[in-house]
């Protein structure tokens, strides 16, 4: 018998969904009610989420499911359900908690927007869809919510629809992720075909449980890779990462919620969720599908952190940083460090949301200027934003010991070191750490240090409704360390399904010093390069060609425009031509025949049938006119006729008798 919380897990996505629907029907002027409803929905979801989380703590490796039949077709029953396990529980808490503070921040950030209530409706809708992804125990239900998340992302990126760049970015995000989703959908169909079920866990019969996995055999590799292509699209992995930086056209809270903390994490979550498919038949922890995951992650992480070094838009730097961190998580999953990857996902959710909200605060106070070269010296004007941003930056760079990001990164480096297939990812990830520290230092120096430049002249600290979320998230970016350290790896053991144990001897690990060295190298290089930035980027002076290559995102957009997009255009032109001249010609010929028949038929109608009917009508009219002449209206005439008639009958009778 399931606990109450498991049976009613659906309430978690349902509350934000309900809030969203109500807000959608509010008028634009009901700003207060709209925001209050959205936040209330989020708070309720958070409370239930925490209840669920607490419920799972007591029992290591807790897993409970509730499955039900959606509908039956033929002999097949399509079943959906939800699952509560450590992975779901931590994601629930992270999404609702981070989401809540982003909602609060939005009150300040969007305060001057005309469509304030619509914004909150979309945010709530997104939250509902994302929570749906997390609790799903069926790949189908997950896919449905996954697509809803994509829709919410589309609506929110294109929220300022009057800006052509925002509309284009929304379309780009939707279409690019859809390419990955096609793979995911084919994977789902294949999985259903081979295993006959899409439930993850179903008392031994789910597709992630041993009986079905054994039946899958070799096809598991292909299914896993197809599912991974969905994750590649959603999590902005190479080669489908191009939409994520463009998605920064959306309002900054959206970037924080969707494109940093939650939605892009869905891909990582998906891989972690169907991990048994990836690791099936592993030799020494290596399978072909996991190797693909590792290398895609490595390429993504390195490429994105390189590009981030040469970007000037404060949000784009963070966007590429997100792409690279997601790559790092994928690497971690690929080398077998599932718990490490998810831990980094959670910690990243907190500090990246913090960084995005901090950048939102900066953008808000600089009157929507996003170019870091036009900012500067903001640490004096915006102390609160500065301090929290610095904490976020250090957590992201992985400054050891105090910041959550450091522990999780170290854990990931640890997992990559033990990968039996190759040690290249390990060293490349170390380069990634240096680069992360470098570009974050660059950003900090440009935005908060040095002399004030044009945009920061009239800057001011943001209102409390915006700084409070920053403060809370900053506290958590540090406080999360408590459950992440190797001395008391509570979260790690919780995710792995073991009970935690305290061992202070493990606190200091050799990897800690390596991390320290790497981060110091990155920050040191950053300070060295950018200590007094001139009009031109120092890196640009030193390596103009390389800088331009990175600044233009390695020309990938242009490459795609020349190949994929161009190919699609050619294809659609050809289809258009086929439609216009070939199919249209056929249709026209058929239509012409119909028209000809119509003309013949109408001629027959007019000449033959109409004439006959007209003749009949004229005759009837003439007869009527003749007979109506008899009706004089004189009653006595009628009576006389009756009398004559009677007399005639009488005579006839007499004559016949």
């Amino acid at each position: 018998m399931n606990a109450w919380i498991v049976n009613n897990l659906w309430l978690i996505p349902a509350t934000p969904l309900l809030a969203s629907l109500i807000i959608l029907f509010l008028s634009n002027s009901r700003r207060g009610i709209g925001a209050a409803l959205a936040i209330a929905g989020q708070v309720i979801a958070l409370v239930i989420g925490v209840t669920a989380f607490v419920h799972t703590i007591g029992e290591p490796g807790y897993r409970a499911t509730l499955n039900f039949t959606w509908f039956t077709f033929g002999g097949q029953a399509l079943r959906l359900g939800w699952v509560l396990d450590p992975l779901t529980a931590v994601m629930l808490v992270m999404i609702t908690f981070v989401g809540l503070w982003i909602f609060v921040f939005s009150i300040g950030y969007m305060s001057e927007d005309r469509n304030f209530t619509r914004f909150f409706a979309y945010l709530s809708f997104f939250s509902a869809a994302m929570l749906g992804v997390v609790i799903a125990n069926s790949l189908l239900l997950l896919f449905v919510c996954w697509e809803l998340v994509g829709l919410a992302s589309y609506l929110l990126i294109g929220f300022w629809i009057e800006k052509p760049s925002a509309a284009a970015a929304a379309k780009k995000a939707f279409i690019t992720t859809r390419i990955g989703d096609i793979g995911l959908f084919i994977g789902i169909l294949w999985l259903y075909h081979s295993s006959g079920t899409l439930l993850f866990y179903d008392e031994g019969n789910g597709c992630l449980e041993s009986t079905s996995l054994l039946a899958l055999g070799a096809s598991a590799t292909f299914i896993a890779l197809l599912i991974f292509s969905g994750a590649v699209g959603k999590s902005g992995q190479f080669p489908l990462h191009v939409w994520l930086p463009d998605a920064m056209e959306g309002p900054t809270p959206v970037s924080a919620l969707i494109h940093a903390a939650t939605m892009v994490a869905a891909g990582v979550f998906l891989v972690a969720r169907v991990y048994p498919l990836f690791s099936l038949g592993a030799i020494n922890g290596v399978t072909p599908s996991l190797t693909v995951v590792v290398w895609i992650g490595v390429i993504t992480a390195l490429m994105a952190s390189l590009i981030a070094v040469a970007q000037a838009d404060i949000k784009r730097i963070l966007a590429y940083s997100t792409v690279s961190q997601l790559g790092l998580m994928m690497v971690s999953l690929g080398v077998g460090g599932v718990a490490a990857g998810i831990m980094h996902l959670l910690a990243h959710g907190f500090f990246k949301a913090l960084l995005f909200l901090g950048s939102g605060s900066v953008i808000h106070s600089c009157h929507h200027e996003q170019d870091i070269r036009k900012m500067g010296g903001l640490r004096r004007v915006m102390p609160m934003t500065f301090i929290t941003y610095a904490i976020g930056m250090m957590a992201l760079s992985g400054v050891p010991f105090f910041f959550s990001g450091a522990w999780t990164k170290e854990e990931i480096l640890h997992s990559t070191a033990h990968w039996s297939s190759s040690s290249v990812p390990h060293y490349l990830m170390m380069v990634g750490v240096v680069l992360t520290a470098l570009y974050m230092t660059r950003q900090m120096i440009y935005v908060f240090f040095g002399a004030e430049r044009e945009s920061s002249k009239r800057a001011h600290e943001s209102p409390e409704v915006m700084t409070t979320p920053l403060f809370v998230l900053a506290v958590f970016a540090i406080a999360l360390s408590v459950i992440l350290t190797p001395a008391w790896p509570w979260l790690h053991d919780y995710l792995e399904g073991e009970s935690a144990h305290v061992d202070f001897g493990k606190l200091i690990q050799p990897m800690l010093f390596v991390s320290l060295l790497l981060v110091a190298a990155g920050v040191g290089l950053g300070i060295l390069f950018y200590r007094n930035p001139g009009a031109k980027d120092p890196l640009e002076n030193a390596q103009p060609a390389l800088f331009r290559f990175l600044e233009n995102k390695m020309w990938l957009d242009e490459l795609y425009a020349k190949t994929v997009v161009f190919g699609s255009v050619i294809l659609s032109r050809t289809s258009d031509w086929m439609d216009r001249y070939f199919w249209d010609g056929l249709v026209r010929a058929v239509g012409g025949m119909g028209q000809f028949l119509g003309i013949v038929s109408s001629g027959f109608d007019e000449r033959a049938i109409n004439a006959g009917v007209d003749e009949g009508a004229t005759g009837t009219r003439g007869l009527g006119r003749f007979i109506s002449g008899w009706h004089s209206g004189q009653v006595q005439t009628y009576m006389g006729v009756v009398a004559v008639g009677m007399l005639a009958l009488l005579i006839l009778y007499a004559w016949l008798a």
């Binding site: 007979i627 009706h631 209206g633 004189q634 009653v635």
Partner: protein, 104 residues
Amino acid sequence: MTPTLQTFLIVSAALFSIGLLAALSRRHAIFILIGIEMMLAAANLNFIAFWRFSSQTQSPTGVMVAIFSIAIAAAEAAVGLALVIAVYRHYRTTNINKLDQLKG
């Protein structure tokens, strides 16, 4: 000389013809009604006469039919008079020649 069936039939036929003549020739609606009443009376006389000179005079069937007929005639006269009054109110005349609304 005792009257025979023939005598009654001749009287009745005369009465009917006088009634028909009145109904066809008078222009006043009331006179036409009176003519119709006379034709009914002729019919009633026939009923009584045929009964009186039949072989079954024990049961008063002819009288009964005549009484029914008179009752119906009374009702008909009432309706007819009411119609005449309504027509008069509407057209301000009872001259039958001026009432030709039934003309086709």
